[in-house]
């Protein structure tokens, strides 16, 4: 029975994966390919695609790259730069906040409480980003709870402008992405062999040296996974910047949305979308190289 497994297996797999291949092939890969073609086109006066009269000339004149070239205009570069530094700040702050929490859940907390503590991180991980962002809108508004509290206690005499600035967007991003950092860190810390920490201390290393020279290197896979899981979504953020940043804090995600919904310049929006995708895929390529080297477990 067992000897025949490999041979029997090969073909039986195809009907099982066919629905997924068909769905993702037609409604995911093909749309992405079309979006790429659109990013090489030109916008017509009323928002559609302009027909190309002479394809040879269109290519040789370099017009097919016009949307990508346009993205290098300082106005847009400023938006991309803001997206990047905000994603970096979000990632660094999330890592700093999360590591001790993940350490607490995995190493310090009593075992019988571990599932509860972990569950309390998993719940916000899956709950609506929109509502969690709204919660901060509710707190930070001019008539919001924080201003109300500060006015009532006499700390301030005028309500502060807490909403619609970079600071509000950063708070929203950090708040939203925090669970995505805690969970991978926990997964790594949970596998940490505590006897190695004891060995390090027995050999005379202090707590700080043990942490930076034993704990951190051993949990590096979790740190890298957390960085990816926070940085990538932050880079493509749209809801947080729209609700908490308003018109002043436009990120790459808002720029794309705007080209499709308001400005009706789909080719340019498509080009920005592909720039974003390329950046994300490049990051994940390096991540894949890293995990391959480390031999980390795979999900599928």
């Amino acid at each position: 029975m067992k000897g025949g497994r490999a041979g029997r297996g090969d073909r039986a797999a195809y009907p099982l994966v066919l629905p997924t291949w068909a769905t993702l092939g037609v409604f995911f890969l093909l749309p992405l390919a079309i979006l790429f073609v659109v990013s090489l086109g030109q916008r017509a006066t009323y928002g559609g695609l302009k027909p190309i009269e002479d394809l040879g000339l269109y290519i040789s004149s370099g017009k097919f790259l016009a949307n990508y070239a346009r993205a290098f205009h300082p106005i847009y570069l400023q938006i991309f730069w803001r997206s990047i530094w905000m994603a970096v700040v979000t990632t660094v702050v999330c890592l700093a906040i999360s590591y001790p929490v993940a350490y607490y859940i995995a190493v310090t907390a009593p075992l019988k409480r571990r599932n509860l503590l972990l569950g309390l991180v998993v719940v916000p991980f899956w709950t609506s980003f929109l509502i969690r962002t709204y919660a901060w809108m509710f707190l930070l508004r001019t008539e919001g709870l924080i201003n109300h509290f500060l006015l009532a206690t006499g700390w301030i005499s005028q309500p502060l402008e807490l909403l619609y600035n970079n600071f509000a967007v950063l708070i929203g991003l950090i708040y939203g992405e925090l669970p995505f950092m805690i969970l991978p860190l926990f997964a790594s810390l949970e596998k940490l062999d505590l006897s190695l920490l004891e060995a390090s201390e027995d050999l005379g290393a202090g707590a700080v040296a043990t942490f930076f020279r034993v704990t951190v290197p051993l949990t590096m896979p979790g740190i890298v996974a957390g960085i990816i899981l926070v940085f990538v979504p932050s880079l493509g953020q749209f809801i947080v910047s729209d609700l908490l940043g308003g018109a002043k804090t436009i990120l790459a995600g808002n720029l794309i949305q705007n080209q499709f919904a308001v400005a009706r310049n789909k080719p340019f929006g498509a080009a920005v979308a592909f720039g974003l995708t390329a950046a994300v895929l490049a990051l994940l390529f390096f991540y894949a190289l890293y995990t391959k080297r480390k031999g980390q477990d795979v999900l599928l």
Binding site: M1, G9, A13, G119, V123, W126, S128, L139
Partner: protein, 262 residues
């Protein structure tokens, strides 16, 4: 031996407060009598009552439920089959299938939304709740595949072989042996799909046509006009539904016996 100081514990609880306080405040203020939402004026259920009379919200809930149900059934079926293929067969294209399943999770939602709306435009497909349901299937198949695949790693194949040896047909073996064993994973995957579906804003906002407003789209448009206690009430209900689903999914995914460590 467990390690770490009381400071780690106290600090961690502070982070938990940071995670939950904003949501808790939002929920509490959905019961606030005052229309001016930052001042507490006593308890009321008025905002929930006015939700029940708000046709826009009721319509969006209906749309969300239809989309969620369709997406859940289709994505759970497809994702489970894909997980079975990945979990037990060595076939040509296995690596490509894995990568294909990772992509919808990896590629920013805004790009997927833009690609789908462009694609529907090329096909001259009328945007409706069905285009929304289709989009939701696309981004949720992967989650089911991952959750069910995790369940399969502890799967004892000799049980299936025994059923086949005892004369059960492959289809019978699947329904009577395989499916009951992986069912917790399948149900957990289905609950996650439903949760992601009723929460999704970004992709839905691209592919929803007129009359296909889902609950998150409705909440968003209300937020853009101004914060009212009704938004808090509807958000509270959505949170409640999703949290119940996640807790059940979480329970189902936990392995029966967890190895203890010192």
């Amino acid at each position: 031996m467990r390690r770490g100081s009381p400071v780690t514990a106290a600090y961690s609880w502070l982070v938990y407060v940071f995670l939950y306080a904003p949501i808790a405040i939002l929920v509490v203020f959905s019961f606030n009598r005052g229309k001016q939402t930052a001042v507490w004026e006593g308890w009321t259920l008025d905002w929930y009552r006015s939700l029940a009379k708000n046709d826009l919200i009721l319509g969006s809930v209906r749309n969300s439920l239809i989309v969620g149900a369709v997406a859940t059934v289709v994505a759970t079926a497809f994702g489970t089959l894909a997980a079975l293929a990945l979990g037990r067969y060595e076939f040509r294209g296995k690596g490509a299938t894995r990568n294909l399943l990772y992509l919808p999770i990896i590629i920013p939602e805004i790009v997927v939304g833009a690609a789908l709306v462009t694609f529907f435009g090329v096909l001259s497909l009328h945007l409706s709740i069905w285009t929304v349901a289709l989009a939701h299937v696309v981004f949720s198949v992967s989650y089911v595949a991952i959750v069910v695949r995790a369940r399969l790693s502890g799967f004892d194949r000799s049980l299936e072989e025994a059923a086949l040896d005892l004369g059960a047909r492959p289809v019978q073996t699947f329904w009577r042996v395989t499916l009951p064993l992986i069912l917790p994973g399948v149900v957990a995957g289905a609950l996650l799909v439903f949760t992601i579906s009723i929460d999704d804003y970004v992709i839905t906002s691209f592919v929803a046509g007129v009359g296909a407003t889902t609950l998150p789209l409705q909440i968003y448009s209300m937020l853009k006009v101004g914060v009212t206690p009704e938004v808090n009430a509807v958000s509270t209900l959505l949170l409640l539904v999703t949290i119940v689903m996640i807790v059940i999914a979480q329970r189902l995914q936990q392995p029966p016996a967890e190895g203890l460590r010192d």
